[in-house]
């Protein structure tokens, strides 16, 4: 068919099998073959016979011809079905007078998975060609129908629309279709179909909705509407059916050919905070959506475009995920761009790269406050803490520790520190408690350790508890001093918590060589522990017991909680050797636990490591440090314009964060945000945008599931790659199922009539 020519209404996918239509002769042949030899009967009562024959002749002939006709028709249709006849969509409807003024809406999936290419041809081009064919076909029909084209990425906006598509309007439509490009965004079919339903709702006449997609399972089964992405459309179609305003849905897919893919799903940092010069552990997750295993994959790592040592993955099993750890060392503080790449093995390169924006600090600053110096320096709490957190030697821990007396706390610039450790100090005065309260709520970490100087427990609770600074995560019951009766207890990890990936597993002894002789018995109020975050987020929440003593009461030893944006930890024993010999444990568990604790208390950077395409860019900064203004620059800036940030004004509390809201991330790569520091200078931070991991799994959803969702709505499937969809032909509807059904119906009718006629004799 050439453009402008009328399409052939009926075509055959297997024209060679048209000879099957000769089956129409089968009933006639059977009729002749099955004619039994007539019996000769000498008969006297011919007068009655002639009379009966005369009476029956006309009716019997009519019945026999009708039955024969039905049989022939059924067999003829059966034979015709072998030739797989196809008709242009809407032909039947037009024959019934419904073709005039039919509105056609093409909803085209331009999600990232359509970037997949096979043999040099991008999958999206198949959908694009399908749309072109639809447009040409409608123009050739010139039946007064309209066409509008929408995309999954922007379903609320019409890409192109014509009220009457004819040969004159076709070039503009074709140009608009040709300009279509797949976006690096996840498909959101439920949203797109809901928008299509809204577009259909005001239309008066019948509507054909063409949905062209790869029907990627991860897209179509995702989100809140996973079980009914067609929900609004189905409801609308059913509501319109009664008013002869039918909605027919044509689902055009890429066909059944498997699309293979190897994808970098995600990279996560094992430490919440990266310190310059200190090795950071990076876990890289891959997924192999191919039929074959992949071996010896070399992963490239780039830090600010500078190559880092590559990582070799021995095997990525088929249809499974695999993880590999990589160690990176960032030499200096500041924001850095990290890129991980896998070799381009497949047709979808978008997910072969992962990008991250690293907020690297020069160190973790700890202020250690002690109650009193020990006469033996080697027994001193701060000495032991310093050797644990910042051990002397060539390998830096990244922790810088300052020391202070209790009395010096009042004048300390706490905002310079990430963590404050209060080692065996008596209850402070109110001003110090309030200062520490502000410090924690604004994001700092606070740790107490117990000891002789803590003093009466009720006084300690008054200072730190609900009546005081509201920082205590547990109640202090009593003190078990080393001289009391009873054997020493060990420390066991109680439950999984954010504290310390390096600690032993749940229920295991932290160190088999350590005996705890004294501790403060703690009690965690279960109501408080399980209480959800309330409007008053400044009280301890998310309370977890990280370790317990294995005494009879299984007394909590390490209790964690979040307060505001900061974290607190209550250690029930001493950090020195007064109540235990943990600091001297030869297995190094004291050092590991203290380092993990400080890492945890220091908290993660507020700068997001990576965004997923389709997410809105967003950044929290300290309201007292930055002006409430920012400019988000997309990855292809300046080709694409920057967008000013929207922000939520902070509360009066100066410790609140300023939340900067940016535009939707629609470009993969490194975007950036330009901040203004209070005082006038500017700061630009990178923002990494990666492909949504859902787009990497290219396996399609089955037609049966789609049909299930569309139950009650007339729909058909179009294989956009099939032979019936050649370049010059519009997508056609297969008729063989219908023919089989009609043939079966005719045979049933024939049998029913034959029975009825027979019963009447």
């Amino acid at each position: 068919m050439t453009d402008g020519a009328l399409p052939i209404a009926l075509a055959f996918a297997n024209p060679a099998l048209l000879s099957g239509a000769a089956l129409v002769a089968v009933p006639i042949i059977i009729h002749f073959l099955a004619r039994r030899p007539t019996v000769r009967i000498p008969w006297g009562a011919m007068r009655f016979l002639r009379e009966a024959e005369l009476e029956n002749r006309r009716r019997a002939r009519l019945e026999q011809w009708l039955l024969l006709f039905l049989r022939c028709l059924a067999f003829g249709l059966l034979g015709l079905a072998f030739a797989r006849p196809t008709v242009a969509p809407g032909v039947v409807g037009r024959l019934l007078g419904g073709g005039e003024g039919r509105a056609r809406i093409v909803l085209i999936d331009d999600s990232a998975s359509l970037n997949h290419a096979r043999g040099g041809a991008v999958d999206f081009a198949v959908l694009q060609n399908g749309t072109l064919r639809i447009a040409r076909w409608i123009a050739a029909q010139d039946d007064g129908g309209s066409l509008s084209i929408r995309r999954f990425s922007q379903p609320d906006a019409v890409l192109h629309s014509v009220a009457r598509l004819d040969a004159g309007a076709l070039p503009a439509v074709e140009e608009a279709i040709r300009k279509l490009q797949p976006r690096p965004l996840p498909g959101e079919p439920a949203r797109a179909l809901a928008a299509a339903a809204e577009a259909i709702r005001p239309l008066e006449g019948p509507v054909d909705l063409f949905v062209f997609s790869d029907f990627q399972r991860s897209d179509w089964s995702a989100g809140d509407a996973a079980d009914k992405p067609f929900g609004p459309l189905v409801e609308l179609a059913k509501a319109r059916a009664a008013a002869n305003r039918t909605v027919r849905v044509f689902l055009g897919s890429l066909g059944g050919a498997a699309r293979e893919n190897l994808a970098l799903l995600d990279c996560t940092l094992e430490r919440p905070r990266i310190v310059a010069g200190v090795p950071a552990l990076l876990r890289i997750d891959l997924a192999n959506f191919s039929r074959d295993d992949r071996r010896d994959l070399l992963l490239d790592i780039l830090l600010d475009d500078a190559p880092q040592p590559a990582v070799r993955l021995a095997q990525a099993p088929s249809q499974k995920t695999a993880s590999i750890a990589a160690e990176i060392v960032v030499p200096d503080a500041g924001f850095h761009r990290l890129t991980v790449r896998i070799p381009p093995h497949d047709g979808l390169p978008l997910d072969d790269v992962w990008r991250g924006a690293l907020d690297v600090r020069s160190s973790i600053r700890v202020l250690a406050v002690h109650g009193a110096r020990s006469t033996d320096r080697r027994q001193d709490e701060l000495y032991l803490l310093r050797h644990a957190l910042a051990p002397p030697g060539p390998l830096a821990s990244g922790v810088v520790i300052d020391e202070a007396e209790v009395g010096e706390l009042a004048g300390a610039a706490l905002e310079q520190y990430d963590v404050v450790i209060l080692a065996n100090i008596p209850p402070p005065d109110e001003s110090i408690a309030r200062a520490l309260q502000r410090f924690v709520r604004s994001g700092g970490g606070l740790m107490w350790s117990m000891g002789d100087l803590v003093g009466p427990l009720d006084a300690f609770e008054r200072a730190w508890g609900p009546e005081g600074a509201q920082l205590l995560p547990a109640r202090l019951i009593d003190t078990r001093t080393p001289g009391e009766a009873g054997s020493a207890a060990a420390l066991r990890r109680a439950e999984s918590s954010a504290l310390g990936a390096l600690l032993p597993g749940e229920g295991e002894t932290v160190s088999e060589q350590v005996a705890f002789r004294g501790w403060v018995k703690l009690a965690v109020d279960p109501d408080t522990a399980s209480a959800p975050a309330t409007a008053n987020a400044a009280i301890p929440r998310n309370i977890t017991v990280a370790a317990r003593f294995d005494d009879a009461d299984r007394s909590p030893a390490l209790v964690l909680a979040e307060v505001g944006r900061g974290r607190v930890l209550l250690y029930a024993s001493t950090v020195d050797l007064d109540w235990n010999d943990w600091p001297r444990a030869v297995d190094g568990s004291y050092v590991v636990t203290m380092l993990e604790t400080v890492q945890f208390l220091a908290g993660a950077t507020r700068h997001p490591v990576a965004f997923r395409a389709g997410q809105s860019l967003q950044l929290d900064v300290a309201a007292d440090a930055y002006e409430p203004t920012a400019l988000f620059k997309p990855a292809d800036y300046p080709e694409s314009a920057a967008a000013p940030a929207r922000f939520n004004p902070p509360a009066n509390d100066a410790t609140e964060l300023l939340s900067l809201q940016g535009p939707r991330a629609e470009q993969l790569g490194f975007a950036s945000v330009e901040l203004t520091i209070r005082g006038g200078s500017a700061e630009e931070r990178p923002l990494a945008v990666n492909l949504d991991a859902r787009e990497s799994d290219l396996s399609p959803i089955s037609n049966a599931e789609l049909s299930g969702w569309l139950s009650g709505v007339k729909h058909d499937f179009l294989d956009l790659n099939a032979t019936t969809m050649t370049r010059d032909q519009p997508p056609r509807t297969e008729l063989w199922r219908t023919l089989l059904l009609v043939a079966a119906g005719l045979l049933i009718l024939e049998q029913t009539l034959a029975w009825r006629f027979g019963a009447a004799q």
């Binding site: 019996v39 000769r40 011919m46 009655f48 016979l49 019997a60």
Partner: protein, 312 residues
Amino acid sequence: MPSSRKYLEPETISRLAGLELRARRAVSGAISGMHRSIYRGNSVEFAEHRPYVPGDDIRHIDWRLFGRKDRLFIKQYEEETNLRLHILLDVSASMNYGQGGANKLEYAKHLAASLAYVVLNQHDFVGLVAFDNELRATLPAATGGPQMNNVLQVLEKTRGGGRTRMGPLLDRLSEELRRRSIVVLISDLLADGDEALHGVEHLTATGHELVVFHVLHSDEIDFPFLSPARFEGLEESDLLRADPQALRRSYRRAVERYCARLHAVCIKRRADYLSVNTSVPVGVTLTGYLSRRSGKAPPVAPSAELTAEERA
């Protein structure tokens, strides 16, 4: 059994014992008998009184009535006379349908013989006419033991095979039978058109009492054939291909219509009509008819019950 006696089976004879055929109407006979005569006679059966007229036999004056009425009345008596039964047997080709005892002609001959036996047994006269499109055999009415043998011999020898031409023949017979008689017509009455109906009307119009035994084979009543068949006329050369299943309903309706018409004509002409299925034994058919005719319940003899063989 002698061949001449094959139409008179012992079972039938035993069943018919004690039954008689009496004329319903007055008949004319030459000798006294058990049947009401059309003539007033001097038998013991008083009929009525009538005024005396000169010339009457004074022996018939009722003197007692003269004593009461003071007028002369003559006593009149019913004359009882003998019966003449004429059996008209259709031996046309159409009667030759059926196998064995169910063959219509054989059945008709059994029926004729049995009927003759009953009548001759009551010392009445029996005559026989066999016909198709012409008279094939004629046996004048007579009584006595030899007549039974004559009847049986005629039945034995008579062969038909022509077309049924009932109309002219019955016209002719009704003219030849001058004395009022009982005429029994045994036939399938499958003549063309309304010829049979006209014949029946003509026979009754001349004062004869008519009894019609309409003999049909069960196939001709039920039309039980299943396979498509080619029906060849027994009397005509025509043939008809038909699917019996398709025609059955209409065929049965046609049979019923024809029988109903015959029956209606017979009722109108005060004739007896009996539709006879050849699957029913002759004895049963005849005892049933004779019993009904005489107003008695049919005799219940052991043989009256249909045996399995008879049903077959």
